[in-house]
Subunit: 358 residues, 2 copies
DNA sequence: GTACCCTTCTAAATCGATACAGTAGACCGG
DNA sequence: CCGGTCTACTGTATCGATTTAGAAGGGTAC
């Protein structure tokens, strides 16, 4: 069944090299012979050089690995992730490079490590995974280029980074909220605790959070609150089971249904924030009047829903990540990029309701 | 820099085979030696067998290719697609197999074909792409297993298929609608025409549509209408630019804003249907009263929005596709599976408004 | 006619591993 | 002490291509 270069070469009485050239370097042989070779190949059912063999010889695979925490479904549920991946794909496609999804299942750490060690790729993109099950160590051992969108500190010195000022951006949202006079504030995030449930969490010190993005975004809010004379201990911390709209709504219920209802809920992702809006709609609460809500990412749905949020250039982030990975600059200064963000004010935020100051 | 099996073997004075066995077949050597080998490897910075070389020798790559039409962003915008992929990932992960995304850019047919010919994979999954740029021909030439969720007829005899009865399912939705007395009916789909715009389209004969899913779902509606004594020419056909909520809303506007407003809009995907609901909300129209709306797929948001739709087991479809691909049964009867669907009636459908019969 | 170049093709080395057959030595029963 | 069976390891062929240096043949310049 499986024909090889040699098969075709033998059939025509030419050398293997020539057949190879017919596919990979057309300028190295006469057009006439090339045509005969391709013709013969077609007859023999030979569909071109074996990609694996070619990769071995060339030392280039033509794919980059994309790491995921948790299930793939979950990883793609967030439109931010999808946009980022779209950008990444744009960049890699231009260089004839594919994207290999490498799921890191939490149930099976060994399997995850094996998957990383055995993935045939030219580099890795770590975009939504914290240092999961020692995955970074495995990756670094392979001495392949790695680009991450997260933790610039935890990443090795050789790692490529494209990031945003998570803490500063989040602080902007916090300042926007305290500027409106809000004092009963809640922050909503995923996996603030290892218990996977929807509800309030005690978090004495947000600096101690292990997950970079959670830590930075929550600390940003804290900074704004403290700068305005407030105290971190007054901020209600809510955990959502997963980064989904439904879990956002369920977790937000705890802030909305208690006696002293929070007047502002700052979610660390738009998906969660939209869940908050869902929960409010179910209770007849008006965004921006009864309760103010902010998100993070500025996904397309945010605009539709009038959600005040932090815009970050998701697609561009992916594109740049891809370019860095495939064309890693030597200059250390060029190996780390920080992209701008901006606060987008829409209708989901407004002045604190009167009489809510207590 | 790059250590190989041989490097490690030489350093220890053992044979290359033994080092290989230390990684791949631990039972073939004494635990003590194995430990020494792994230790030495670590010191030399050798991170395990080169995946490409291993693939070549083993004849198995450990990845399956997933084909996309259009941009990756678009392919992942539909929760149905994400669920399907999640199921696929479940099945492949269990077999230590990764997912390689292969984008088929419309701009660059040659690039798309090259990507297919050069993808290092053990099989292909074609799940949302029609026969794009002759992609099926390229794939078939490689004589790798292929699974598709679509067109059972266009697919070669060797192709694995996991599908649903698209036409029958869609007809069920149509019967539900005509059963409610609706006669001013619109169908909404993506790419009914090659012009990419939102709005009405003349479609004398739906059987002539080139895209399988569009054709089948639309014909299903037609069958229901005709069976109820109606005529296809009375059905308004709307095209949405892309399969997005926003485009669904924009296209639906044409059915909602005209003098003789459609009393029912049957969308071929939930995403489009949710767009229709958006458009209705913007106009103060009540789903199930003023206008009935149906979707297709039963994505999570459908439930939240009270959308009547056709449920299909998306995740399971992906899982089965993965299993078929990695464990293709010989028996032709087992190579094609048809999964059940069901009509889920929610609040977005109801009796035609009185006096709408003209 | 010789020297030189260009085009077109070939031969051999190489990429980094795995599979399989085979060997050396230990151990055991009789 | 011999045949037989294990265990632990080695040697060689092989997977399917690319690459490099170089050879054959024809053409051109002087």
């Amino acid at each position: 069944m499986s024909a090889t270069l040699q098969t075709v070469a033998d059939a025509l009485g030419v050398s293997r090299s020539t057949v190879s050239n017919a596919y990979s370097r057309p300028d190295q042989l006469s057009p006439a012979l090339r045509e005969r070779i391709l013709e013969t190949a077609r007859e023999l059912g030979y569909s071109g050089p074996n990609p694996t063999a070619r990769s071995l010889r060339r030392g280039r695979v033509g794919a980059v690995g994309v790491l995921f925490t948790g299930s793939l479904t979950q990883a793609f549920t967030d439109p931010y992730a999808v946009q980022f991946l779209g950008g990444l794909a744009q960049a890699t496609e231009r260089r004839d490079t594919g994207l290999l999804l490498v799921p890191l299942s939490a149930d099976d750490p060994d399997g995850a490590q094996r998957a990383l060690a055995e993935a045939a790729v030219d580099g890795f993109c770590v975009y939504c995974a914290p240092n999961w099950q020692g995955s970074l160590a495995v990756i670094n051992a392979r001495s392949l280029p790695v680009v991450t969108t997260e933790n610039p500190t935890e990443a090795g010195a050789a790692t490529l980074v494209v990031s945003i000022d998570e803490r500063g951006a989040s602080r902007t949202a916090g300042e926007h909220i305290v500027g409106f006079g809000h004092r009963r504030i809640a922050v909503l995030d995923t996996w603030v605790t290892t218990e996977r449930r929807n509800g309030p969490v005690r978090l004495p010190d947000p600096e101690s959070l292990p997950f970079y993005i959670s830590r930075e975004r929550i600390c940003g809010v804290r900074d704004a609150v403290v700068a305005a004379g407030g105290s971190w201990s007054d901020v209600l911390v809510l955990n959502a089971r997963d980064n989904t709209r439904a879990d956002g709504a369920a977790a937000a219920a705890h802030a909305l249904d208690r006696a002293q209802r929070s007047t502002a809920i700052l979610a660390t992702t738009d998906v969660l924030a939209l869940g908050v809006l869902d929960a409010m709609a179910a209770r007849g609460l008006r965004p921006g009047h009864d309760v103010s809500v902010t998100g993070f990412d500025d996904i397309p749905d945010a605009d539709r829903s009038g959600l005040t949020t932090i815009h970050q250039p998701s697609t561009e982030k992916g594109r740049i990540a891809g370019e860095l990975l495939l064309d890693a600059p030597e200059d250390p200064a060029l190996r780390r990029k920080v992209l701008p963000t901006s606060l987008i004010v829409r209708s989901s935020t407004g002045p604190a309701p009167v009489g809510s100051s207590s």
